[in-house]
């Protein structure tokens, strides 16, 4: 078979992230959201600690395929130290990219390694795998946003 075709989706940077994921593990006493991929039963938990409207710590745990694990790993790199608003924008940009929409060069640059996952758009059956961690982060931020606003004076 042509490994070239596999290389289109599974670029080296994606394989590296999947094999050696960043920010993998659990954070004690940090809020998180757990989502599952109903087609394969994979479960990913994303935890985010926000201080002064900025993501201080982020981590993910759980198992999954190369795409979901790599996507979660690059996401933690990209979202680390971002403000809540920036993080929400990055999540939006990433989902646009994965759905095959074009992004500005600046927006792509902001996504860093995550931009490499843009090729997933050509593999529609794998979009759910790529989005899983990002959906969890989005929900987590929404929940934190809700409580954070309430506690702020």
């Amino acid at each position: 078979m042509s490994l070239l075709k596999l290389n289109e989706l599974y670029k080296t940077v994606i394989l590296d992230h999947a094999q050696h994921p960043h920010h993998h593990g659990q954070l004690a006493e940090v809020p998180g959201v757990t989502l599952n991929n109903p087609s394969c039963g994979d479960v990913i938990q994303v935890q985010i600690e926000v201080q002064h409207q900025q993501i201080n710590r982020i981590a993910f745990s759980g198992t999954g395929c190369t795409i979901s694990q790599a996507s979660a790993s690059v996401m933690t790199d990209v979202l680390s130290q971002q403000t809540m608003t920036q993080a929400q924008q990055l999540i939006h940009d990433f989902s646009q990219l994965i759905m095959g929409k074009s992004l500005t060069t600046a927006a792509k640059h902001q996504l860093g390694d995550a931009a490499v996952l843009g090729t997933v758009a050509e593999f529609p059956t794998r979009i759910r795998c790529a989005m899983l961690a990002w959906h969890a982060a989005e929900q987590c931020l929404a929940e934190i946003g809700g409580t954070d606003n309430g506690s702020k004076s």
Partner: protein
């Protein structure tokens, strides 16, 4: 006829196509089978020359449509060896047939404290309807466990099926492990305790002769689309004495005898259980599928499928780091093989194979409790039919080795 098993492949137009620039190697027939030209033509012919609603019109065209539709009921009755045509009625799918029994027989006869016995290998469609029923009725679900090689533990079946059992629901053939269960023995066990047995035949009907009387099952469900027929048509067989006690699950046109302002009397069985306009073209397509399967013949089908299954099992067992779930002996196997490659997620394996035109399933196969038993989240599954070839199994094994190498480095 003199047609060899390999000659039938040419009857399936889709098998001549390409995927990702490679010849389509379709190994997901357990999800849905491909359709021969004869089935496609029967559906087209119905819409081209015979389309009218059934059981209603007094005009010639309606009579023709009704005759064609009802002829398939006779065909199905013969195909599964039902004692009479009234025991057979058409549904949307296996899932609808199973839900129908839960919502009629289950609703009428299951009471608080009763036990419903399932197996650990059931598809969600033969599990969730009973789980919902058990919750509504405060009944208890019990599961017959499996032997280490994936076959049903009949000693456990003897323990689980007791005087408290009201209903036993079991797959004839597992959609993951490929094992075929001893239905006749299970039926005898259920009947010994005055319970009824409902069999999910979805994975069996296309691969072996089914005899509902010899097995002595009370209800038997299957789908058209896994046996060369179209999607959207299923069958439910029930023993007449049981069907006569059941209140219909759905009401409307075609199922009534007489409707007054306050009360309605129902049509005779089986019309009583077919409310509304049925899937007429689907039923006619199912009829063509049965005719086609009978032309190929069970002996040729089983020889081919067993040979290919053995080739696949042997090839997988010889690969380092590949785990096969279920028995390794093709004699205990339907043409369904679930496996995993160490360190490579099933989705990645399936995408890798897909790049080479090889279509397999990856996931939990709608059997999450079974995944717990196997201690995995998901598996790869290759499933075959007589239209597959030995060369295709070789392609799968070769590409699988390359995919494994790619991910394991």
């Amino acid at each position: 006829m003199g047609k060899m098993i390999k000659d039938y492949r040419a009857d399936f137009p889709i098998l001549q196509t390409t995927i990702n620039g490679e010849p389509l190697t379709y190994l997901d027939s357990a999800a849905t089978s491909q359709k021969p030209q004869a089935v496609i033509d029967a559906i087209t012919a119905y819409y081209t020359t015979s389309n009218a609603n059934v059981h209603r019109g007094v005009y010639t065209l309606a009579a023709q449509a009704t005759d064609q539709y009802e002829a398939v009921r006779d065909q199905v009755a013969t195909f599964i060896h039902a004692p009479q045509r009234e025991s057979v009625f058409f549904t949307r799918s296996t899932t609808e047939s199973l839900n129908w029994v839960a919502q009629t027989y289950g609703e009428q006869f299951i009471e608080a404290g009763d036990e419903i016995v399932l197996t650990a290998m059931e598809h969600h469609s033969n599990l969730v309807p009973w789980q919902q029923l058990a919750q509504r009725k405060h009944a208890k679900l019990r599961y017959i466990q499996l032997l280490p090689d994936g076959q049903l533990d009949m000693a456990d079946a003897n323990q689980k099926i007791t005087a408290k059992t009201k209903l036993v629901a079991v797959a004839q053939t597992s959609n993951v492990l490929g094992v075929t269960n001893p239905i006749k023995q299970l039926a005898a066990l259920a009947h010994q305790h005055r319970a009824v047995i409902m069999v999910d035949g979805a994975q069996a009907v296309a691969h072996q002769s089914v005899d509902v009387q010899a097995m002595d099952v009370d209800f038997y469900a299957f789908s058209g689309h896994k046996m060369l027929g179209p999607t959207g048509v299923g069958v439910l067989y029930g023993k007449l004495a049981l069907l006569e006690q059941l209140t219909p699950a759905q009401f409307g046109g075609e199922m009534i005898d007489n409707v007054d302002w306050q009360t309605t009397t129902f049509a005779a069985i089986p019309q009583r259980f077919e409310a509304g306009t049925p899937n007429i073209s689907g039923v006619i397509g199912l009829g063509a599928a049965i005719t086609y399967l009978q032309q190929v013949g069970w002996s040729a089908i089983q020889t081919q499928e067993k040979t290919l299954t053995m080739q696949l099992l042997t090839g997988l067992a010889a690969m380092d780091g590949v785990t096969v779930y279920g028995p390794l002996d093709a004699n205990f196997h339907g043409p369904v093989v679930a496996f995993n490659v160490a360190g490579v997620h099933p989705h990645d394996v399936a995408t890798g194979l897909d790049m080479d035109g090889i279509e397999v399933r990856a996931g939990h196969h709608c059997a999450q409790p079974l995944m717990q038993v196997l201690n995995v989240e998901s598996t790869v599954r290759a499933s075959l039919m007589f239209y597959n070839t030995s060369a295709e199994i070789d392609r799968l094994l070769t590409t699988l080795a390359a995919v494994k190498e790619f991910f394991q480095g």
